[in-house]
């Protein structure tokens, strides 16, 4: 398996891997270890803005890289029940092979679960 340079970089760094603690932190997860892809996001939202984000992932390099990118790029943006970039755009950005695109839906599900619980209802 070959990875694009971007995929490789985010996989290797995975700077935002971890968890958040404290007030305004919302957690969402999706997927399962048994199925080989599990992703969890912690987002800290205040005044409708994402202040911090972390992820954990038991997943392939593409999934880890995308989750790392999502946490990085979400910080400072307005919290909405959507990824900072659409799944097809992320697929293209990280050159995710067709057979693996379904895994990005796990990221989307985890992300939405995390952010949605922090949105005003």
């Amino acid at each position: 398996m070959n990875y694009s340079e971007l995929t490789r970089r985010y996989f290797d760094t995975a700077a935002d891997a971890g968890v958040l603690d404290g007030p305004d932190v919302h957690r969402g997860a999706a997927g399962s270890h048994a199925q080989g892809t599990w992703v969890q996001f912690d987002v800290q939202i205040s005044q409708g803005i994402i202040r911090a984000a972390r992820f954990l992932a038991f997943a392939c390099p593409h999934t880890i890289a995308v989750a790392a990118w999502v946490t990085e790029h979400a910080v400072g943006t307005v919290a909405t029940a959507a990824l900072p970039e659409s799944v097809p755009d992320l697929s293209a950005r990280f050159a995710v092979p067709a057979e693996k695109r379904g895994r990005l839906l796990v990221i989307e599900d985890a992300w939405i679960a995390a952010v949605a619980s922090g949105l005003p209802r």
């Binding site: 990875y3 996989f11 968890v19 080989g36 992932a57 997943a59 392939c60 390099p61 092979p97």
Partner: protein, 387 residues
């Protein structure tokens, strides 16, 4: 060309420099380039002489006679020729085949194809160590079983089956032919074609420092018939048509001779390296060794790592360590090893495993580098997975 540590000898080996030199002698105008079937002139005869010598070298390395060697393009073809060959020739005797879940795809896929053509196939399940017990074979033989196909050394976990015992059972049953895929055995444990009581045995050169693209099917001289897969020029007593590639079989012959000549200390050296590797990795915790350590060749170590995903593990060591999960694979999406699944490992652990194949050029420094890299990678991925 590449400075990363190569521990994928079970996928393929580099060709020994002496083998490469012998092969080169068979290629150009100055060498034995003739067609070995062109016996009307010296160019052809010189090639035929080398082919005969290689046949004797291969035979001597595995306890067979030179006339029992049928050249093929590798163990894949040998397996296919054995399975379809017996099935085609003996189809009136029955339509049942006995094999194991842990066989190589080059045995399983021909069996699946025969199932599509109306055959019944029994797939034995090994114990948790990967061992097929001979009495399992005895119990599964049916009145119309025409073929038993059990591998010698498993390519993923290195477990060695007791072929002599299985051979004795098949001989007692009568009528049934025993095929053994011994692609991974040469240079790693004793192969005794005649002594094991085997009817058909598949060999490959490139797992034993010979070239890729050549192998052999051993066909016992007494009472084994095959329907060929390829028809044509009458080569190999009509069992396998096609120009015999002199340089390839010469390479295989010499590689087998060199394997036979290796001192027993080499196996001990490799075994010691493997133990060093295992001890290094075990310190991580959450590691499980796959395959019965007491009944396996010293060249293989297969380890499952809890808390990491398989592809990420491979990717994390990539560029510095060449290992694999399961057998060489062509698909973009990794699948859990069916061999480890058959041993009872769950899907996650079956995927989160690495196969380390050690070989002739593996050094202690290689092992230490590998241990360091894997420990680093696993630790980091466990941190990312939170496990």
């Amino acid at each position: 060309m590449n400075s990363s540590v190569y521990l994928d000898y079970a996928a393929t080996t580099p060709v020994d420099a002496r083998v490469a030199a012998a092969m080169a002698q068979c290629l150009t105008m100055e060498g034995a380039f003739g067609n070995p079937a062109s016996t009307s002139h010296h160019y052809g005869q010189a090639a035929a002489t080398l082919v005969d010598k290689a046949r004797a070298q291969v035979a001597a390395g595995v306890g067979a006679g030179p006339d029992e060697v049928v050249w093929t393009s590798g163990a894949t073809e040998a397996n296919n020729l054995a399975i379809f060959g017996v099935a085609g020739y003996y189809r009136e005797n029955g339509r049942h085949i006995l094999t194991a879940r842990t066989e190589h795809k080059a045995v399983l896929d021909p069996c699946r194809e025969l199932e599509r053509r109306g055959w019944r196939v029994t797939y034995l399940v090994p114990d948790r160590g990967g061992v097929i017990h001979p009495d399992q074979v005895a119990a599964a033989l049916q009145a119309d079983t025409v073929l038993v196909s059990i591998m010698h050394v498993n390519n993923e976990i290195g477990v060695v089956q007791d072929i002599a015992a299985i051979g004795a059972i098949c001989r007692k049953h009568g009528g049934v032919k025993l095929h053994v895929d011994a692609a991974q055995s040469v240079g790693k444990c004793v192969i005794d074609f005649a002594g094991f009581g085997v009817d058909l045995m598949s060999l490959s050169a490139h797992k034993a420092y010979g070239p890729k693209g050549v192998g052999a099917l051993l066909v016992a001289r007494c009472g084994v018939h095959l329907q060929p897969l390829q028809f044509g020029g009458g080569q190999e007593r009509g069992l396998r048509a096609g120009t015999v590639p002199t340089h390839q079989v010469v390479g295989m012959g010499l590689a087998f001779e060199l394997a036979r000549a290796a001192p027993p200390s080499e196996a001990e050296r490799v075994a010691a390296l493997r133990e060093r590797l295992w001890q290094g990795l075990e310190s991580l915790g959450g590691t499980m060794r796959n395959g019965d350590a007491k009944q396996s060749v010293p060249h293989l170590l297969n380890v499952s790592f809890a808390g990491v995903e398989g592809e990420s593990l491979l990717a994390a060591v990539k560029g510095r360590l060449a290992v694999s999960t399961g057998s060489a694979c062509t698909s973009a999406v990794q699948e859990p090893s069916y061999v480890l699944r058959a041993l009872g490992r769950d899907a996650v652990l079956s995927e989160s495993s690495l196969r380390f194949g050690l070989g002739r050029f593996t050094t202690e420094a290689d092992i230490d580098t590998a241990v360091e890299l894997v420990i680093q990678a696993v630790s980091r991925l466990r941190r990312i997975s939170g496990l």
